[in-house]
């Protein structure tokens, strides 16, 4: 019995990552109908930045994280202004997608040059990622609790911004009907920028908080990015909460599959899920079908 709880908890811990990245992807898609292929690499760089400030520059742990996130926000702003903005006017998504691929390649190379290819350990205060509490037969890693807490905090903050601020209202309106939103005075450039920055920050937080779990290495967030996408598909790409729920579900499915299925299958699980969902319910498990939007 405890076995199951252990696996379920493990699934949740991975699921939090997928949920957060899924959220980040859906955010950008809902408002701008674009997918950001560089999201995984950007999240990874946030992790590297936090580590760099803390380890190489002896900055206090929390401050390093704040600096890293600020740099992430600024960097995203620059990318959005220079590369995405000029292409939005064309109306065709393809150049933008290709553009984010280019950004991905570029950033991946930058991070490789700056931090090198070998895996590094991300040190946390008091080494709490090494602390495990034993409760009966159940092993609880202290850092995993931090991860859980961070996830809830992030989701709450994003939820607050989206639902309780005027900016969030503008973003929601823009996502529903661009033209009508513009007629109400919602500025397209503001919505675009904030969507990207918010999305990058969520990704950054994920990259930082999962660095101790996954080890800092080249492309360490890429697999999370892929699974975040699967989470978004599971949840229906137009639903923020759906993306989150999808992530948790994926985490659980994965945890149990790894336990009982052959390794090849467990590795293929994300793609299998994508295929199944697309076959049966392309608009996602958690959204009602809207006739006018083709998934």
């Amino acid at each position: 019995m405890v076995d199951y709880i252990q696996i379920a908890w493990q699934g949740l811990v991975s699921g939090f990552a997928y949920a957060l990245i899924g959220l980040a992807l859906v955010m950008v898609y809902k408002t701008a109908r674009i997918l950001n292929f560089a999201a995984g690499t950007m999240a990874g760089i946030s992790g590297f930045l936090a580590h760099w400030w803390a380890a190489e520059n002896d900055m206090p742990f929390a401050l390093a994280i704040i600096f890293a996130l600020i740099m992430t926000a600024v960097g995203t702003y620059v990318i959005e202004r220079l590369t995405v903005r000029p292409l939005i006017k064309l109306g065709d998504f393809l150049p933008i997608v290709i553009m984010t691929l280019g950004v991905e390649e570029l950033l991946a190379n930058v991070s490789l040059l700056w931090w090198g290819g070998s895996a590094q350990r991300y040190r946390v205060p008091g080494d709490i990622d090494r602390i495990n509490w034993i409760i009966g037969d159940f092993r609880l890693n202290a850092w995993h609790v931090v991860v859980a807490g961070t996830t809830f905090a992030t989701l709450s903050i994003v939820g607050y911004v989206i639902n309780q601020t005027e900016l969030g209202l503008g973003m929601k309106a823009f996502a529903e009907d661009q033209d009508a939103a513009k007629l109400m005075g919602v500025k397209e450039s503001t919505v675009s920028i904030w969507t990207w920055v918010l999305s990058a920050l969520v990704g950054g937080v994920t990259g930082i908080v999962y660095a101790p779990v996954l080890f800092l290495q080249q492309d360490y967030m890429n697999i999370i990015f892929i699974k975040g996408f699967v989470a978004a598909i599971l949840g229906g790409f137009l639903s923020l909460s759906g993306g989150v729920a999808g992530g948790l579900l994926l985490g659980e499915l994965e945890a149990f599959t790894i336990k009982w299925a052959p390794r090849e299958f467990a590795a293929a699980l994300p793609v299998v899920i994508v295929f199944i969902v697309l076959l049966i319910r392309p608009h996602g498990l958690f959204t009602r079908e809207k006739g006018h939007e083709r998934v």
């Binding site: 898609y29 109908r33 674009i34 997918l35 292929f37 590369t83 000029p86 292409l87 998504f93 393809l94 150049p95 997608v97 290709i98 553009m99 691929l101 280019g102 950004v103 991905e104 390649e105 570029l106 950033l107 991946a108 190379n109 930058v110 490789l112 040059l113 890429n222 697999i223 892929i226 996408f229 699967v230 598909i233 790409f237 390794r263 090849e264 467990a266 590795a267 293929a268 994300p270 793609v271 994508v274 295929f275 697309l278 076959l279 392309p282 006739g291 083709r294 998934v295």
Partner: protein, 617 residues
Amino acid sequence: MSTDNQQAQTALERAKIPLPRFLKKNHYFGFLGILLVYLLAGTYSAYSLTIMSTIIFAIIGASLIVVFGMAGQLTLGHTIFVAGGVFLSANITMEWSRGLETELPIAFAAMFILGLIVGFPSLRVNELYLALATFAVAFVGVQVLFEWEQFTGGGSGKPVGKLEFFGREFSRGPTLVRIALIIMLFTFWVVGNFQDGRTGRAWNALRTSETAARASGLPVAWLKILCFAIGGGLAALGGVLYAHTLRFAIPENYGVNLSIIVVLALIIGGKHRLMGAVLGAAYVKWLPELSRDVQEYEGLIYGGTLIILTLIAPDGLVGMFEWAAERIKSYKKSQDGEDLDSKIAASNTTPLKSEYLSSIGSDTSRGHLVVNNAAVAFGGVKAVDDVSFEIPAGAVTGLIGSNGAGKTTLFNAITGHVKGATGEFILDGKSVSGKPIHIRALAGIGRTFQNLNLHDDLNVLEHALIGLDRTTNYSRISESFRLPWVLREEKKAHFIAAELLDHMDLLEYWDEKVEDLPYGLQKRVDVVRALASNPGILLLDEPAAGLPTAEALEMMQKVQEYAKHISAGVLIIEHNVELVADVSERIIVLDAGKTIADGTPEEVTRNEQVIAAYLGT
């Protein structure tokens, strides 16, 4: 040519449209280029690895042209087919001790089948999701390869066996390069044949306007799956070559990074042209040769190139050359100051009487349309509310109504472009109720579009050829090898298309890209495309919109002439009541989803209810 023995020249000849041939100029140049490298293969052995990589990348690029360049499906998982080819090669040479004669066909066949499966998501998701889905496939694919130790040897990989062909062993080095060139020749030739054939046109059509492609009767779903299959199979050939070049197969090499680089190479080169595949491959493979340092900065350079290109030259290097060539061409044209009209010799016969179009003419009246209890509801609103009418064969009917009356919805219910329509729709005795768009098109429903839905990037002649797809008869396999009957059918189609263009006064613009044409001509292209499919009933969606009435009437006259020639019916939606009254024998008026009038133009325009509905009293 003396006027004494002036025979009836076909429109194609008069416009000097080149006939389809087995081999074109490009083929000769390409062959010469390949021959050159073939002969020099022995000399630059120091670079043989780079040369091999370039050739392999060019082959993969060509295979990607099928999926991405032509059909427009952005796939980031293409390397999974390459990986498949690589590991199949390793296994076949080592476990079965067989050579290329087994590796190549099996790799092609296996990856063709995988392509059919991988292509499936393209039917369910839009292009954006597809890009990400294939990205996921590439990523996860590598993981699977790692775990599938029996097939791939896991992390350590598998060695590749001897290079042989039917038992005869070859040493690597120049021979491998020559074999690679032969395969490249084959791949380029096949892809080129598709580009010049109906499947290539169909892929281009679905890339530029899926809606219109369906309405022309193209089986869009099957075409999408097919492009993945063919692209996959050809990429696998590159994989086999890769295996023999590296002599060792490791899963790690075939991940997302390679996928992105492959797409990158194609985009840098220019994604439509085979030359682009070569240029892109050369760019990506030779740049690192310039200095060791470059290798370290690969991502920066490739990524940076991609970003810059996307911003300023989205059609890649080939695109830049073509743009320059266009500029020179139009500069020369303006210098010469020639009048386009005089370039096309006058004919002493009308297109309808030409040998090609007269064979299409029909005496059997078609276009008998029965609509019973048609209804379409959006949310709670009844856009079309129980509409029934019957149009006799060969009739010209108008459908008018104020904004929101439901006429466009009814129209779309007939052609299949709206979901959730109920009721019976029967054309010439065949029921099309509930059938997909392209099936209805094949049953004889042809249409034009309010917003034209033309195929940007294609020229006027190609639009007519796309319309002619359903009557161009040859299998896709024949097409890939450009067998004799393919050529015959292509020539016939070109002759017919030219006559159609001539009839609609578009002949002189046959090689203009449609996006460069003025609106009035664009509308005529939309019409020509619909007429080319030889419809039983032609549905015209606001043919006069945006045109001065005189021009619209002229166009309608031509349409009616042709419709009469093929004995087809015509159904027109219009706001321009003057035009409709002029050309129709009968007018049906809708308001709030219901029929409020049905009679001759005179009756209808004097009908008080109609006037009230339009002006509101």
